[in-house]
């Protein structure tokens, strides 16, 4: 089954307890259906390729087609080459002639790659500081709004939302609306203010009021803009000055429609602010989100959350097994 929020968050020494009023089974089923639904197109796209491939005799073309299918899912040349080479080798060694064995093993391989590093979010520190960054238009503000809602409404935590995007016109207003919906505290600066100062203020206010989690938004920036990346590094430094272990979680939002540039994004942001996990957004389109596999494979950064739509419940914990299965079965 899909991973639940309780498996994603670690609270007070144990995994998160059942959220208030524990989810009714139908609701879980509904959510799972939505996840399946959002990955359905992805699945279909890969499925047709793989089935057509695997039901035929194994030959050179089989591997070429599998390669194309993975490339088409934005998995990228390097990761694709590794998966195809390993599968080909195992197929030869085990004398598989096609069908189920190959298909199962393919899912396994993809799952292994997707499941990398620490894939939970530890909420035990008081307050837990979560910093969110990413390229323009990848869905940072929306992700934070939904995350605030989950933490506040479902886990009953006291949350402070910090509007660190002081650059984009109306970004503060956008986050403020989310804060109202989620019923959480909101800290903002003026347009053009230093986002580090907003982060500072948010942590100070969280400590003053005994908040559990501080969520810090930042302005979208291209990873090639050195001055903006330096500014982001400063936000992180300012946070660490107040709480040495913070930010406890640094999330990078990556749009599922992103191609191979996603690798460069992840690498550059990781070098600047030490990314601990990805949020793979906009998985509800026809995009495959395969770039997440490439990032996991080449950089060892796990996906922690996925976005499958605009509704509040459309932010979901990432499940490597589901993701891989949904991709190919």
């Amino acid at each position: 089954m899909a991973r639940d929020w309780r498996e994603l968050f670690i609270i007070d020494g144990a995994q998160a307890a059942a959220p208030s009023g524990s989810e009714e089974p139908e609701r879980r089923v509904g959510r799972f259906r939505r996840l399946r639904e959002s990955l359905r197109k992805t699945r279909q796209a890969l499925q047709s390729e793989i089935q057509a491939t695997l039901f035929e005799d194994l030959n050179e073309e089989t591997w070429e087609r599998l390669e194309e299918a993975l490339i088409y899912a934005d998995v990228g040349a390097q990761t694709t080459a590794k998966v195809v080479a390993q599968l080909e080798q195992e197929a030869t060694e085990n004398k598989w002639s096609g069908g189920q064995e190959l298909s199962d093993r393919l899912v396994e391989l993809l799952t292994e790659i997707a499941r990398t590093g620490e894939d939970t979010i530890d909420l035990r520190p008081d307050p837990t500081v979560i910093l969110v960054a990413g390229v323009n238009g990848t869905g940072k503000t929306t992700t934070l709004g939904k995350l605030a809602w989950h933490l506040s409404k479902e886990l009953d935590l006291k949350v402070v939302l910090a509007a660190g995007d002081t650059f984009r016109a109306a970004a503060v207003e956008q986050l403020e609306l989310w804060a109202q919906r989620a019923g959480v505290d909101f800290v903002k600066g003026d347009l053009g203010a230093d986002s580090a100062s907003v982060a500072f203020e948010a942590i100070a206010s969280a400590r003053r009021d005994g908040a559990d989690v501080v969520l810090i938004d930042t302005a979208g920036r291209l990873h090639t803009q050195d001055n903006l990346m330096a500014e982001l590094a400063k936000v992180r430094r300012v946070i660490a000055k107040q709480i040495p272990e913070a930010p406890h979680e640094t999330l990078l939002t990556v749009d599922a429609t992103t191609g191979q540039n996603g690798l460069r994004q992840a690498k550059a942001f990781s070098e600047t602010i030490d990314v601990s996990g990805l949020v793979l957004t906009k998985l509800d389109g026809t995009a495959k989100g395969g770039i997440a596999l490439a990032i996991a494979h080449e950089l060892g950064i796990p996906v922690k959350l996925i976005g499958v739509g605009e509704q509040l419940e459309d932010l979901r914990p990432f499940d490597a097994g589901d993701f891989a299965r949904a991709l190919v079965s």
């Binding site: 323009n136 989310w178 191979q260 906009k282 995009a287």
Partner: protein, 443 residues
């Protein structure tokens, strides 16, 4: 922009380029490299197949038989095909003979529609001297209307908005009516981001189209999009039959292959390129120039056009007079520096110079250095600026303090300026300066 693709193709072709004769194996090897480079650049794999197929066919065919340098011919073929793939010569919006011309913007969430709307508005206002209004029809994303109001203000155009309570179709219709009655030349309709598989919202977009009958529909495509770009474009083409593409976020290191694929698959040309966060970082897309840029042939045309835009003829004549009379002082130097900086970030200018792309890759231009130079010059008296050679120790100290730099920096600036003046004298006297020596000194 497009650095890696350009580099890869150059590396592949430089082997072929030097060769006197080509075998089929040579061509096959080159095609394999091109295929991989294009796939890594997110070009749709079907497009890659037909692209390499077409090149190979032409390369093996009669095209290069009897030509002196087949390597050069292959480069030319790749360049031709790449240009074709990106849509031939540059195209403009189609303006209505009876204003207002209505432009509808569409795209996925986060592709950069609202920013592109503001940039296009500014572009049409300044380049076409049109009176422009923008309509806020994104009623779904929180604060999207506020964002357009702010962007519209920055662009210096009117923003037509009715909050978020009305239906976007009604707002669009109302805005079109208002643009007509207020005698606007152009109305740009911003819409909310929508997924190409969201039937309801796609229908709404078709309804907006029906209501305002736009003359141009532009699809905004993120340059970083992967293989899915083709699906998205096909869906949008089916529902609203858009006319052209605005490629956004081209200022990153995205290889932009997706945008090439969109043209190849839908046949819709790329009209504009959005290359930065500032509103004026927006230009017409020139497929032919971009193809040359990818192949490392530079983009001199864009550079010249940019220069023409920002240099004043009178100033140029005055500068020439000063050079001849040897009255060129630090003030004039400062003015020159400001002119060049008006062209845009130096980093992007360097990429347009033929042959520079590769050599200067990885070289970061420190724009702050110019601020420092400016601070030093502005800390001098007018007399000192005219005759920097007369600046003595105590003056240097004062200037260093005034500009927040050190004596060393002041000395260096004056020394470099002296050298520059010497070169200029030589040039104005018709002698060729020793550029090599100059470069060595500059380092």
């Amino acid at each position: 922009m497009f650095d890696s693709l350009s580099e890869k193709l150059q590396a592949t072709l430089s082997e072929v380029r030097g060769r006197g004769t080509l075998t089929e194996d040579d061509i096959n090897a080159a095609m394999r490299e091109i295929r991989l480079a294009l796939l890594e650049a997110d070009v749709n794999f079907k497009v890659v197949k037909s692209f390499t197929g077409a090149i190979k066919e032409r390369a093996l065919g009669a095209d290069i038989v009897g030509k002196l340098n087949p390597g050069q011919q292959v480069v030319k073929i790749v360049s031709d095909e790449l240009t074709e793939l990106m849509g031939g010569a540059a195209r403009e919006l189609s303006f209505s003979p009876r204003p207002p011309t209505i432009v509808l913007m569409a795209g996925l969430q986060g592709s950069g529609k609202t920013t592109a709307t503001g940039k296009l508005a500014r572009y049409l206002r300044t380049e076409h001297h049109a009176s422009v209004a923008v309509a806020a029809c994104d009623v779904y994303r929180p604060a999207a209307v506020d964002q357009l109001i702010k962007v519209g203000q920055q662009a210096g155009v009117d923003v037509y908005e009715q909050g978020t309570d009305r239906n976007p179709v009604d707002i669009a219709r109302w805005a079109a009516e208002r643009a007509r009655s207020e005698g606007k030349d152009v109305l740009i309709v911003d819409t909310s981001g929508r997924l190409h598989v969201d039937t309801e919202l796609m229908t709404e977009l078709a309804d907006i189209k029906k209501a305002v009958k736009p003359h141009d529909i532009l699809l905004v495509v993120d340059a970083m999009t992967g293989q899915d770009a083709v699906n998205v474009a096909e869906q949008f083409a089916e529902v609203v039959d858009f006319d052209g593409v605005v490629m956004s976020k081209l200022d990153g290191d995205a290889r932009g292959g997706a945008a090439l694929s969109v043209k190849a698959v839908t046949g819709k040309p790329i009209l504009f390129a959005s290359t930065g966060e500032k509103l004026d970082q927006f230009e017409r897309f020139h497929p032919d120039r971009m193809a040359q840029r990818i192949l490392g042939m530079g983009d001199v045309m864009t550079l010249i056009e940019k220069a023409q835009d920002s240099f004043d003829e009178q100033q140029a004549a005055e500068l020439e007079r000063k050079l001849r009379k040897q009255e060129f002082g630090l003030d004039d130097f400062l003015e020159q520096m400001r002119q060049i900086r008006k062209l845009g970030p130096l980093q992007s200018l360097l990429g347009m110079i033929p042959g520079m792309g590769k050599e200067l890759r990885g070289v970061k231009v420190d724009e702050k250095e110019f601020d420092r130079l400016q601070a030093i010059i502005l800390s001098m008296t007018p007399q000192e600026r005219r005759h920097p050679e007369l600046i003595k120790g105590s003056q240097r100290l004062r200037i260093a303090k005034g500009s927040g730099t050190n004596v060393q920096a002041v000395k260096q600036l004056i020394k470099q300026f002296e050298q520059m003046r010497k070169v200029m004298r030589q040039v104005s006297q018709g002698r060729m300066p020793d550029l090599g020596a100059l470069m060595r000194q500059a380092r």
